[in-house]
């Protein structure tokens, strides 16, 4: 059975080399849609998405924790339906990231949990540095603050992130872990840059407060806890 290589206006190019002209396309799903890719003349959605899957799952694990697989499934379906909007294969990683991030945001919205009430005046006044110095959890330490951080495994840090509401977690993960610029995240979420910068600021402060609470609740403030 011949595969569609390219859909352009009302003409379809098949891999057999045949061109079917005057075709009326029905439905949105471009089953074997292709995109111009510079060096490679055409790439299918499957080729592009397969390369990106490990990265998308990794990002989803940090954004959505136990819901990561569902979020990536959502992302693949949405990306597949919108594949005709992607015109440059080089833009595929950022395009897929954008869809994934929005899937996470939408999932957080529709979860319809009680909105978390946060006293941002208190959060704004909190300094993890001063808290550690004041509480002095490791009295014999010469490097108290570094010793505090050394108690956290990567899993612990990700668990702390999962305590934050999505709107603050997303900027921390996408900007600090995945290296996107705040401006790029603003474009992905279609919000003003100032909104992303404000969420980053609050997210960082919340992250500090949650690092301390997590350490208290998980026994990380005892000498030799690890």
């Amino acid at each position: 059975m011949p595969r569609v290589l390219q859909v352009l206006d009302n003409a379809i190019t098949l891999d057999s080399g045949d061109v079917l002209e005057g075709v009326e396309l029905v439905g949105a799903a471009p089953a074997t849609a292709v995109v111009n890719a510079g060096v490679n003349p055409v790439l299918s959605f499957r080729d592009l998405a397969r390369d990106q899957l490990p990265r998308l799952l990794s990002l989803a694990q940090r954004l959505a924790g136990g819901d990561a697989e569902d979020v990536v499934q959502d992302c693949l379906l949405k990306a597949y339906r919108r594949f005709d909007q992607l015109h440059d294969a080089a833009a595929a990683p950022a395009w897929l990231t954008s869809i994934l991030v929005n899937c996470c945001r939408d999932r957080g919205r529709t979860r319809a949990r009680q909105p978390v009430e946060i006293d941002f005046d208190q959060v704004e006044r909190f300094s993890l540095y001063r808290k550690i110095a004041y509480e002095d959890p490791f009295p014999y330490s010469d490097s108290l603050h570094l010793d505090f951080l050394a108690e956290f495994s990567r899993e612990d840090v990700r668990a702390v992130l999962m305590r934050l509401p999505e709107i603050y977690r997303i900027p921390l993960v996408v900007v600090y872990m995945d290296g996107y610029l705040a401006r790029e995240l603003a474009e992905m979420l279609q919000v003003p840059l100032g909104t992303v910068l404000a969420r980053l600021h609050r997210g960082r402060k919340l992250f500090e407060t949650q690092m301390w609470e997590y350490a208290e609740q998980n026994g990380l403030l005892k000498e030799g806890a690890r």
Partner: protein, 76 residues
């Protein structure tokens, strides 16, 4: 001149390079005379590194395989 609270509240932005020149000058001036805030700055740098380093995680192979299968089903 700015207070310690004002300086500390902008340290991540300072590290990110997202403060403007005037704000940077005020923070630099404060750091030049406040040893505690220099400690805060170093700690903010380490905390940011801790966050960045936590990006590397293990991917469960069975989940990845299921997602590859989803992709096959989308585009047979």
């Amino acid at each position: 001149m700015i207070s310690c609270t004002q300086a500390v509240n902008q340290l991540w932005e300072y590290l990110d390079g997202t403060v403007d020149d005037a704000e940077r000058a005020l923070i630099d001036e404060h750091l030049g005379r406040c040893r505690r805030c220099c400690g805060e700055l170093e700690f903010a740098r380490e905390l940011r590194r801790t966050l960045t380093d936590a990006a590397h995680d293990d991917l469960p192979d069975h989940v990845l395989q299921r997602l590859y299968r989803t992709l096959e089903e989308l585009e047979p």
